[in-house]
């Protein structure tokens, strides 16, 4: 009896949900994240929960990703409408012909850092000497790393390097096989803390004059041309989500944990969300709303990529080829 009741209820819910979606005829869009959900993405889930996207007539589906590169390829191929991905990675893909462009930059101060457990007392670049650093070969941090070393007067021979994928880096530091890893202040720092229950001290690249924009919203150029209004409405909702998320980090984290219960632990996710919100403003545009990036900041990012990121100067072009603020509210 009870079983039948639940079945009927389920059928009713389905019918209702179906009919409302049908009645309003919203634009269905997919946003593919750069990675599995973590605190950085919390504001997007807040916007979804509070209906900011629905208010703009957008039926948003958030998909988790496996690295910015894959996400950008999916957007370029039209598999995902929007991508939340590393803009430096996008620039590299675009310079190789991928028809993608950044329509908003979320993290305008670099979250890149070299971090270890606080009890190891590695708090300034000189402390890295003689230590072991875990890196992921080919990722954006490992490519900017030589510049950080140059600016801080360190040499590759001053320390030992071990390479591995994202999980191996964490494991290596957790088990003491490495003292430090290259990671994001709101990502790896939190994961280390959650895993070892020990405080983590990140040395931020941005504090030593190495700044580069990070995550942003990427869209296919053809899609942008064909559906400018959808992109505008999406960005309006996204801007609102980021603003509200920064104002009320706890609500954002709660929304994320409700949608993806395994994406983190409340306390540390909150720390991560607060750290993320601090990166929303770049050094050259402290008054702008989120996602609106400064021209100087983008130009510096491009220059850095040309010098250290393996970007070919001949095909690189101008910074404005890779982003636009024209669709932002």
């Amino acid at each position: 009896m009870f079983k039948r009741l639940t079945l009927i209820a389920a059928a009713l819910v389905c019918a209702l949900a179906g009919s409302t979606a049908f009645a309003q005829a919203k634009d269905k869009v997919t946003l593919m994240l750069n990675w599995y959900t973590y605190s950085e993405h919390a504001p997007l889930y807040l916007g979804l929960e509070r209906g900011y996207f629905a208010d703009e007539g957008i039926d948003l589906d958030i998909q988790e990703g496996r690295g910015s590169g894959v996400t950008i390829q999916a957007v370029a191929a039209g598999t995902a409408t929007f991508g939340y991905a590393d803009i430096a990675t996008m620039i590299k893909a675009a310079s190789k012909g991928a028809p993608v462009i950044a329509v908003g930059v979320a993290l305008q101060t670099s979250p890149m850092s070299v971090m270890g457990f606080a009890d190891k007392n590695i708090r300034k670049p000189a402390d890295i000497k003689g230590k072991t650093v875990a890196v992921t070969p080919g990722d954006s941090m490992s490519q900017v790393w030589p510049l950080f070393l140059k600016k801080t007067g360190l040499k590759e021979t001053d320390f030992t390097t071990v390479s591995g994928d994202a999980q191996t880096k964490l494991n290596a530091v957790m088990t003491g096989k490495a003292d430090l890893l290259l990671g994001y202040v709101m990502d790896q720092a939190i994961k280390l803390q959650d895993g070892a229950h020990k405080e983590v001290y990140p040395i931020r690249f941005a504090d030593y004059g190495v700044n580069m924009v990070s995550s942003g919203i990427v869209v296919q150029k053809d899609y942008l041309k064909a559906h400018p209004d959808v992109v505008k409405r999406f960005l309006k909702a996204a801007t609102r989500s980021l603003e509200e998320g920064a104002k009320d980090p706890k609500a954002a984290v709660d929304a994320m944990l409700k949608a993806k219960p395994k994406s983190g632990v409340e306390d540390t996710a909150l720390v991560g969300m607060k750290a993320t919100a601090k990166l929303y403003k770049g050094p050259d545009n402290p008054k702008d709303r989120p996602l609106r990036v400064g021209a100087k900041n983008m130009q510096e990012t491009l220059t850095l990529l040309e010098q250290y990121g393996g970007l070919d100067k001949a095909t690189a072009g101008k910074a404005t080829d890779y982003y636009t603020n024209a669709y932002l509210p």
């Binding site: 590169g69 390829q73 070969p137 080919g138 994928d165």
Partner: protein, 268 residues
């Protein structure tokens, strides 16, 4: 019709070594045509020509990293032989051991190695050892399964014959059981050696400062698809080469077997 009566070009075209080469050329042409016809952009699939250019241009690096991967593969393959064949012997000869070990072995085979590979780095560090273990884990199972099958499928009549001639257990083993099992053992070795290459790369992917897996990771990070495909080509080359080596050893050891009676027919 005697083969010598055919014209030279026909003999060359139809010779055993030319056929796979022809197929490869055909596939390359189809690959190139597909890219041209469907206008597939180079950030999704590179052109064969770009891959060849990388293969030539980056050859010293590919060779160096390829050697590292080959060492790990051979290490894992060697371990797989050293443990797999004796274990298969025990399983084939004792029902008790079989009932204890075999289910567990199948269970362990179903564990996805990719998922536990990061732990190998935690346990064994960043050296070559975790890659050898990875190669071993993938190469071990096929050897055990085919060796067990080989030892079990010895014809009972032959054993009866040996017994009637009062052959000792050892000489029955050396003259009948082992030689009869060899074809199956080699079938397992061939599967194993190609899987060991995969295992070594999985190990390198997870944590390594060298090897083809490391190169693939860097190429991936830079959207350098031609280099990535060049790396994959070298990797497949290593697989084919090791396969051929096993095949040649097999020919030397069991020239009498049915699969080798036609001169040089079943390589690769």
């Amino acid at each position: 019709m005697a083969p010598n009566a055919r014209p030279l070009w026909k003999r060359v075209l139809l010779s055993a070594w030319a056929r796979p080469v022809l197929l490869v050329i055909l596939l390359l042409v189809m690959w190139d045509l597909t890219i041209r016809i469907f206008r597939i952009p180079p950030y999704l699939i590179p052109t064969p020509w770009a891959v060849v250019q990388q293969l030539v241009g980056e050859w010293p690096k590919l060779w160096r990293e390829g050697l590292v991967t080959t060492y790990a593969t051979l290490g894992g393959f060697g371990l797989a032989i050293a443990f797999g064949i004796p274990m298969a012997l025990f399983i084939a000869y004792s029902r008790t051991i079989e009932s204890f070990v075999y289910p567990l072995l199948v269970f362990s085979q179903s564990v996805p190695k990719v998922a536990i590979a990061p732990l190998f780095v935690v346990w064994f560090g960043f050296g070559i050892f975790p890659k050898i273990i990875c190669a071993f884990m993938l190469g071990f199972f096929p050897i055990v399964v085919s060796t067990v099958m080989g030892f079990k499928s010895v014809e009972p009549d032959m054993i009866d014959l040996a017994r009637s001639m009062k052959a000792s257990k050892l000489s029955t083993f050396m003259r009948i059981r082992f030689p009869q099992a060899l074809p199956s053992i080699f079938a397992g070795l061939k599967v194993s050696v190609t899987l060991a290459v995969v295992g070594a790369v999985v190990g390198e992917f997870v944590g390594s400062n060298s090897g083809i897996g490391y190169l693939l990771q860097i190429a991936n990070g830079n959207f350098d698809l031609p280099l990535m495909f060049a790396g994959l080509t070298v990797l497949s080359g290593i697989g084919v080469l090791l396969f051929v080596v096993v095949d040649v050893v097999e020919r030397l050891l069991i020239p009498w077997h049915a699969s080798h009676r036609n001169d040089f027919a079943a390589t690769a």
